[in-house]
């Protein structure tokens, strides 16, 4: 991918760095495994010593150690030096109670309204591919402000997801709220091509910025629906040497960033 040539880092590393920048010190972030966990930990090490990381497995205030990345968010290494450990039902209820600022997940398929599909490619009755399913994804996306980090490919950015596993803005406009989802909603989608948000009223996905060496046309070309474009389209700061150094220190085996 052109990105790889343009930057001295893998697409996954780019995702991790760019999404880490979206997390502010002092926030409470509910992170999924993979890029989200890595990016949240990166933010914690770079600019957010007071960033509180929650995991679905039941961890509050995680402080993941370099080279000790967990295979999921349910193993003991997620809890080392954490502030609290509790049941998975109870940690998910913190989302419902309103204690969490940001939910942070990866995505397999997303549509123009930010709905995520991690259940079925094709029809649920006779799927071409049965995917792993929601996990806590539906709960996180239903209850808090979301950041999604994923590869930007036409087959992943579709007009309408085959199955709404984790709700974005559903059919746009007020449909999310009308469905009873009064809290949260999609906030940002970070990809290896750029940074996207959602229009305040129509709730359509909008390109907010592109990464160095990427054009708006290229982003559109890799998207399966018509993107709204921000009036101004800044270019993101490429990952700094320090960001990459810390990131590679956290994941020396490229467990998440291969």
């Amino acid at each position: 991918m052109t990105i790889d040539a343009a930057l001295p880092c893998t697409a996954s590393e780019l995702l991790a760095v760019m999404s880490a920048r979206l997390l502010r010190d002092g926030e409470v972030v509910f992170a999924g495994v993979g890029i989200p966990l890595l990016a949240a930990t990166l933010a914690q090490r770079l600019h957010g010593p007071g960033l509180t990381i929650l995991f679905e497995g039941g961890t509050i205030g995680a402080y993941v150690e370099p080279g000790q990345l967990p295979p999921s968010t349910n193993e003991q290494r997620c809890t080392r030096r954490a502030n609290m450990v509790l049941g998975s039902t109870d940690v998910l209820l913190l989302l419902q109670r309103g204690y969490v600022d940001v939910g942070f997940m990866g995505g397999a398929q997303i549509d123009r309204y930010g709905n995520l599909n991690s259940s079925f490619i094709g029809s649920p009755q006779r799927p071409a591919t049965r995917l792993p399913g929601s996990g806590g994804g539906n709960d996180i996306a239903s209850l808090t402000r979301m950041i999604v980090a994923m590869k930007h490919e036409k087959r992943r950015f579709v007009e309408r997801v085959d199955f709404v596993t984790s709700p974005g803005f559903l059919d746009g406009e007020n449909s999310r709220r009308d469905a009873g989802l009064t809290a949260g909603g999609m906030f940002r989608v970070v990809t290896d091509l750029g940074l996207l948000g959602f229009d305040e009223h129509s709730k359509r996905m909008t390109l907010l910025a592109v990464h160095a060496g990427v054009s708006a046309a290229e982003v559109q070309a890799n998207t399966g629906f018509e993107l709204a474009m921000a009036t101004e389209l800044p270019v993101t700061e490429p990952p700094t040497d320090n960001e990459l150094a810390v990131l590679r220190h956290l994941d020396p085996d490229r467990l998440y960033t291969a």
Partner: protein, 317 residues
């Protein structure tokens, strides 16, 4: 798996809840699980999975189990591929970021040979909690508007009688049997759990029968010294089985981490031909071993020592 209060109380009242020793072998405990039973599985993903009990059930050629777990991993593959279960109620079922999407899950569900009934993670947890509380349902605010909810005839949507807000109601899940692995318990079944409890406390109280496997059986005196460390009360427990390394190759918090090399080999063996690879794995690790110790021996002493060293490291400062 959801009952009227009359039926729930009748079933619970019929259980022997007296303070009595209930230590038995894996095989004796497996005999408590009839074909077709609904079975709640403790732990999550690779953590505190009651593998020794699942191993015994697969060896006993149990059939038609309807299983439920918050998040499922290789134990779900083993249950499907061994023919022990064709129906898993869970929120997520795969191997995960390190080993990729479960090929066994895909093969069985895409061909409709088995059913993966998907609820959100919170929904599974609240279903066990409702079961533990003795209420028919609990309200929640997620799943609304999603296709996950649309495919679940057992869930309902209401307008809140207090606030008028839309709410999802999920029904209680009271499994016939719960399989839970703990770090230690006494002969009566008073169990202590270190680290992540997942949904096991609710699951234990929700189930109509609980089979505990434990790394170690301790004295009731030790339990009574710190009653605030007991997480599961003895009267909810029907069987206690001592099974050291009872989660291998998964982890048991503070005692051993996942057996990563074994899981790498397992995933690699399943890659070329998942079903043949699984048949071979089941033969070598489930059907052939003479005993649980023999099972562990086939995983290998070096792997055990390595997993134990990493497991205990959680308590290093």
């Amino acid at each position: 798996m959801s009952f009227s209060h009359d039926e729930l109380c009748r079933r619970t009242g019929a259980r022997d809840r007296s303070l009595r020793e209930k230590v038995m072998s894996l095989d004796e405990a497996a005999a408590l699980v009839p074909d077709g039973a609904s079975v709640g599985i403790g732990g999550s993903t690779l953590s505190r999975t009651p593998l020794a009990m699942i191993w015994a059930l697969i060896r006993a050629r149990r059939r038609g189990l309807v299983c439920a777990r918050g998040i499922s991993s290789s134990e779900g593959e083993l249950l499907f591929a061994s023919g022990t279960s064709q129906h898993l109620i869970t929120s997520w079922f795969s191997l995960g970021i390190v080993w990729g999407v479960s090929r066994i899950m895909r093969a069985y569900t895409e061909s409709n040979r088995a059913r993966f009934e998907e609820w959100s993670h919170l929904a599974i947890g609240l279903r066990f909690r409702a079961g533990a509380m003795g209420v028919p349902f609990l309200p929640m605010r997620s799943m609304l508007g999603s296709d996950v909810l649309a495919r679940l005839p057992d869930a309902r949507v209401i307008d809140c009688p207090f606030t008028g807000e839309r709410l999802a109601l999920v029904p209680a899940l009271n499994p016939d049997i719960a399989l839970i692995h703990v770090q230690r318990c006494d002969a009566y079944g008073n169990a202590q759990i270190d680290g992540l409890p997942f949904m096991d406390l609710d699951l234990a109280l929700a189930a109509n029968r609980v089979i505990l496997t434990t790394e170690r059986i301790v004295s009731n005196d030790q339990i009574r010294r710190r009653p605030d460390q007991t997480k599961i009360p003895f009267f909810a427990v029907d069987a206690v089985v001592e099974a050291p390394f009872g989660c291998a190759p998964h982890e048991c918090y503070g005692i051993y981490e996942p057996f990563f090399d074994h899981l790498d080999d397992y995933a690699a063996a399943l890659k070329p031909d998942p079903e043949q690879g699984m048949r071979d794995y089941l033969d070598r690790h489930f059907y052939e071993p003479q005993s649980w110790t023999d099972y562990l021996d086939r995983i290998g002493l070096p792997a055990l020592l390595d997993a134990a060293r990493r497991g205990k490291s959680i308590y290093d400062d």
